[in-house]
């Protein structure tokens, strides 16, 4: 066998988007390299096969967050940490900020990119749950041009996305969050820091001529082979228990867990329904609260901490005994 076949992937660091697209078009088995947090692990484990890595960190403009007429346009190389902390994101899409804040740990969030996270396509990712509820669109670019794919159509199967050969994610467009009534719940079964076993983002959007109903939009993570989206209508005057019941019933149709070391199908289903209830309950509490100001207001701090035991732990002091 030749020495060539033994080599590790070749790293390219193009300076323009056009060069990136050209490389993706001509190389044998290229892999776009964003933050590298997933790619590095997969390479190390020998489960990712790529002839070339195309690092897009030097492409100007990909790390920009822009306010647009409809909301936000987030470049592919924006880090997860910026999604968590950026004031514009927190103002226009607080659910997204809240969910990005819960991915992995600060080290990963400081490095991982918005585009790479989506392209990874894993069914357990957190950000898609929010992006599904917010009806975001993914910008895909290739040598042939740019197309927009609704995030609700982006995930096509187990670790599969709508990305075609030669394409990369260049941005995500997130419409302004239409209501402040939103929440996220994430449950793990092993270490708190582990991949989630179940996650749910819930967003309640007022509908109807006199805004007498709610559209409950939910994004589910880790509960089926891909991130799942569902929505249902809820009468404005409904009792919380009715809303929870309806949400659970709808979610139960979509939940189709993959059993693994983190739990079996039945357990994950139950946990999924808990995540749905927790997220919907927190969102509903916000929805029925008397509103002060516009629906563009951000989710209050208290609501963010509603969702599960995970959040509380961040405030712990672990060495108080000293």
């Amino acid at each position: 066998m030749s020495a060539l076949e033994l080599e590790t992937p070749v790293l390219h660091r193009p300076g323009t988007l056009a060069e990136v697209c050209a490389l993706l078009a001509e190389l044998d088995q290229p892999m776009v390299y964003g933050g590298g947090t997933a790619v590095q692990i997969l390479l190390k484990q020998g489960v990712l096969f790529a002839s070339d890595l195309v690092d897009i960190a030097r492409v100007p403009g990909l790390d920009r967050i822009e306010e647009t007429a409809e909301g936000l346009r987030v470049g592919a190389m924006v880090t997860l940490r910026r999604m968590e902390t950026d004031p514009v994101v927190r103002r226009l899409a607080p659910l997204a900020a809240q969910v990005y804040a819960r991915v992995a740990n600060p080290r990963v969030r400081n490095t991982a990119s918005v585009g790479g996270n989506l392209a990874h396509g894993d069914y357990r990712l957190d950000p898609p749950t929010a992006l599904l509820a917010l009806d975001a669109r993914v910008e895909l670019t290739s040598a042939g041009g740019t197309r927009l794919v609704p995030v609700r159509e982006f995930f096509t199967g187990f670790q599969q996305t709508a990305l075609a050969e030669g394409e990369l994610v260049t941005a995500v467009q997130i419409p302004t969050q239409p209501s402040r009534a939103a929440a996220f719940a994430k449950l793990s079964s092993l270490s708190v820091n582990d991949w989630p076993c179940a996650s749910a983002a819930a967003l309640l959007v007022p509908t109807g001529r006199r805004r007498e109903r709610w559209e409950l939009r939910m994004g589910l993570g880790a509960l089926a082979a891909k991130p799942e989206y569902l929505s249902l209508e809820v009468p404005g005057g409904a009792a919380l228990d009715e809303v929870l019941e309806a949400a659970q019933r709808a979610a139960d149709q979509v939940i189709d867990p993959i059993p693994d070391v983190r739990g079996g199908v039945e357990f994950k289903r139950r946990l999924g329904l808990v995540a749905v209830r927790d997220a919907v309950r927190a969102a509903w509490d916000l929805a029925v609260q008397p509103t002060a100001g516009s629906t563009r207001g951000s989710v209050p701090e208290s609501a963010r901490e509603e969702d599960s035991d995970v959040q509380r732990t961040s405030q712990r002091r672990w060495w108080r005994g000293r």
């Binding site: 030749s2 590790t8 740990n105 079964s189 270490s191 946990l271 035991d309 672990w318 005994g321």
Partner: protein
């Protein structure tokens, strides 16, 4: 008596000296083994078995050899031809070849070693080794393996290291490679009697799954020939053992093997006895090539594991709440190779009835081969597995007896001078003090808000006992330099426990030296003297005693030199922080002046050395009894307050109080860190940490799937408590502490969960899935 307790004048022992390596570690300047500058070495990558149990019909290395950069591809058959039966190594049984010979016994067993210029060709070539297997029936379940075939080994091959295993040589048709029996009193009669008179018996089947150590630093070994000598640099806790094992393997004298260790980035038992060293040695020696082996994270999971263990336990209390009988049938799954499993089996069998006054005890503890990666030493040495049983049983017994679980234990715990179930008296093991300290810390007797929304709150406690490894040998060589700095030569390996700091403090105490004045030399068998192992929490006591003796001998030498100089008797001279002084004449001399005067030169060294060896009375083969089975005991207790989320099944620990009787804390900060570190590791074992196997294949052998406690899994509050009942022969009264709190940790958590939701979990870990399922069953049975 109590000679160890007279204090040196030094003011070093009991001080919170900073770790000697703290600065270098924080700054990333510490060189671990794989960071050390070495001569250029070739990389070794292994081709590993894909079958749990199979004969090797053929191993075809032709394609692998054709890969550019490959220098050699070596098989077990080749090594066996060269080294014969010496290729079979292991601390208790000589049963493990570094490359499979004729047969593989677990998925992942090394079959062939590729030696290449660089990892890339080595990896590529390893994938091109072609193996033809003739599959054999495999045995994965420990009880099936105990009951009969298939047999993992044709016959038992006890090593020469432990004389008491001799009788097992050549035994065939069994997977049980060792059995320890403890008999005291009459369990059946006493149990029957007690129950007749209103007592209670509880019994349960317990299970602890295999786990992995996951030291952050990966195992690494480099070896090369230097003429007729072999040099090894390795991540090992046992340099003296490795030197002997390699000398035996190669058939060369001890002084022809040099083993250097390096500061370890964690180990917990993962880097001791035969790991990568026999392979590296055999390759370097036979191929005359410098080689290095760096285990990947995934390979590290295959190198050694913590024993999975099944325990059938029972305990009986009389109507007055005294424990009158206890029994345990313990089955350790030692995997394909015995490693130190037989020792674990005995060491834990001795304490399977717990730290209680029980007159009638029956224990059967067996070490059993299965077709899995070999299990070996792990912080706690098998004792956490039996503690899981006795501390769960005692808790149920207390509840059945209608007595508070802490109070019930208090009534039954062994006290100073009591004779333990194994026949050895107790000393310096204050179980009651530990129990009282942790229960008080968590407010055991204060009211508890039991229901908090969907959360259920509970408290639990557990106590642990372990015997220190006995007999063992330690040596220390101390050089006092003319400038009054000191260099200490010992083979203890600092693997994060802080031994370099502790040993410096012990040496400094007798010599009135200050922080930073004693440098501890990293283990190097060409330089540092024999030490049995750095493991089993033994170093502070054993090596510490050797160090103390060497330091005291040095002090005596200084006193003599000063007496000579002053013209007074040595008894008149006193060593202080400022030097030596004559009480009679008030004449003074500093250490630098004294040594300069004595040798007539600057830069000189004064040397002393000392040995510390412990002895035991081997336990009786039928009854397990010994009047002196161990040099000393470890005593610890844990109390936990926690919540169980009844919707998610998740346990959240609010307060964890952990205590250990350490005799005397040489460095309280390091003791607290050990108490805390072991407890955090134990939280993982209690709640989610486990190796999952499917037909002998590890399912979660990566850090993506194998879970350790993260910072977010820590309790809201951890209270480490030092209990000190000085040991009569400990250095300044000290004993070790590394394992103390991991031993009772899991049952303390499970007992608190029992308290919170009324459900007893006999199987570890207490995953949310197990808890939710049990809650659903509880609901259904209402």
């Amino acid at each position: 008596m109590f000679s160890g307790l007279h204090s040196g004048a030094g003011g070093a022992v009991g001080e919170r000296w900073a770790r000697t390596d703290a600065r270098a570690k924080v700054r990333g300047e510490l060189r671990y083994a794989a960071d050390q500058p070495l001569r250029p070495c070739l990389d070794v990558v292994l081709h590993r078995a894909t079958r749990p149990h199979a004969l090797l019909e053929s191993v075809d290395v032709e394609d692998a050899l054709a890969v550019d950069g490959v220098v050699a591809v070596v098989t077990g058959a080749q090594l066996y031809e060269r080294f014969g039966d010496a290729l079979m190594t292991g601390p208790a049984f000589s049963d493990q070849p570094c490359l499979a010979v004729g047969k593989v016994r677990y998925v992942g067993e090394p079959v062939a070693a590729v030696i290449a210029r660089g990892l890339v060709p080595a990896r590529a070539a390893a994938e091109r080794v072609l193996v033809d297997y003739a599959e054999l029936d495999a045995v994965h379940d420990v009880d099936a393996a105990a009951a009969g075939g298939p047999y993992v080994h044709e016959e038992l091959r006890p090593s020469t290291v432990f004389g008491d295993l001799k009788h097992l040589r050549g035994k065939r048709d069994t997977n049980v490679n060792y059995e320890y029996k403890l008999r005291r009193g009459d369990v059946a009669a006493a149990g029957h009697d007690a129950v007749e008179r209103g007592g209670v018996t509880v019994r349960e089947e317990f299970w602890c799954p295999p786990t992995h150590h996951v030291p952050i630093e990966l195992p690494f070994t480099a070896a090369w020939r230097d003429g007729d000598r072999l040099e090894i640099l390795s991540t090992t806790q046992t340099p003296s053992y490795v030197r002997l094992a390699v000398a035996d393997l190669l058939g060369i004298p001890l002084n022809a093997v040099r083993v250097r260790s390096a500061p370890l980035g964690g180990s917990f038992g993962a880097k001791m006895y035969d790991r990568l060293e026999p392979l590296a040695a055999a390759l370097a020696w036979s191929q005359k090539l410098p080689v290095r082996i760096l285990a990947s994270r995934e390979e590290a999971f295959l190198l050694t594991t913590r024993h999975g263990a099944a325990v059938t336990g029972s305990m009986t209390a009389d109507a007055e709440g005294r424990i009158v009988a206890a029994s345990a049938d313990v089955r350790y799954d030692t995997g394909a190779y015995a490693d130190v499993g037989p020792r674990i089996t005995a060491k834990s069998g001795m304490v399977a009835a717990g730290p209680y006054r029980v007159d009638n005890v029956e224990v059967r503890s067996r070490c059993i081969y299965t077709n899995k990666p070999s299990a070996g030493p792990f912080r706690g040495f098998g004792v956490p597995q039996v503690t899981w049983s006795h501390e769960s049983l005692v808790d149920e017994l207390a509840r059945e007896s209608g007595v508070d679980p802490a109070e019930f234990r208090r009534r039954n715990l062994l006290r100073e001078g009591d004779v333990s179930a194994v026949g050895t008296p107790m000393h310096s093991a204050d179980f009651v003090g530990c129990l009282d300290a942790v229960t008080e810390a968590v407010g055991w007797d204060t009211p508890l808000e039991r229901v908090d929304g969907r959360l259920r709150r509970g408290r639990g406690v557990a106590v642990g006992i372990k015997a220190v490894l006995t007999p063992t040998i330690s040596n220390a060589v101390l050089q006092l330099n003319q400038d009054s700095s000191a260099t200490l030569l010992i083979s203890t390996v600092d693997m994060g426990q802080g031994s370099d700091t502790i040993m410096a403090q012990i040496a400094a105490e007798a010599l009135c030296l200050g922080e930073g004045q004693v440098r501890v030399v990293t283990a190097d068998t060409d330089v540092t003297p024999y030490d049995t192992i750095t493991a089993g929490s033994r170093s502070t006591y054993h090596t510490g005693n050797a160090v103390r003796r060497a330091a005291e001998a040095m002090r005596d030498k200084l006193l003599e030199l000063a007496a000579e100089r002053f013209g007074v008797p040595a008894t008149d001279v006193k060593l202080t922080g400022d030097g030596l002084v004559s009480a009679q004449t008030q004449e003074r001399v500093s250490v630098p002046e004294l040594l300069h005067g004595h040798f007539g030169a600057r830069g000189t060294t004064l040397t002393t050395e000392a040995n510390f060896t412990t002895s035991w009375v081997p336990y009786d083969h039928e009854t397990g009894q010994s009047e002196r089975v161990t040099e000393h005991w470890f005593a610890g207790a844990v109390a936990a307050q926690l919540t169980v989320d009844t919707e998610t099944g998740r346990v959240h620990v609010e307060h964890l109080a952990v205590a250990g009787d350490v005799g005397r804390a040489i460095n309280p900060t390091l003791v607290e860190q050990q108490l805390t570190g072991a407890a955090i590791m134990g939280i993982g074992h209690a709640l989610f940490d486990q190796l999952v196997f499917d037909e002998g294949q590890i399912v979660n052998g990566t850090l993506l799937d194998y879970q350790l406690p993260s910072v977010l899994d820590l309790p809201d509050k951890i209270t480490p408590i030092i209990v000190e009942s000085p040991h009569r022969t400990g250095p300044y009264g000290a004993k070790g502490v590394g394992e103390t709190t991991i031993i009772p940790l899991a049952p303390a958590i499970a007992n608190a969960v029992r308290d919170a939701i009324g459900i007893r979990f006999p199987r570890l870990p207490l995953t949310p899935e197990r808890i939710l399922t049990a809650l659903a069953d509880q609901e259904a049975s209402k």
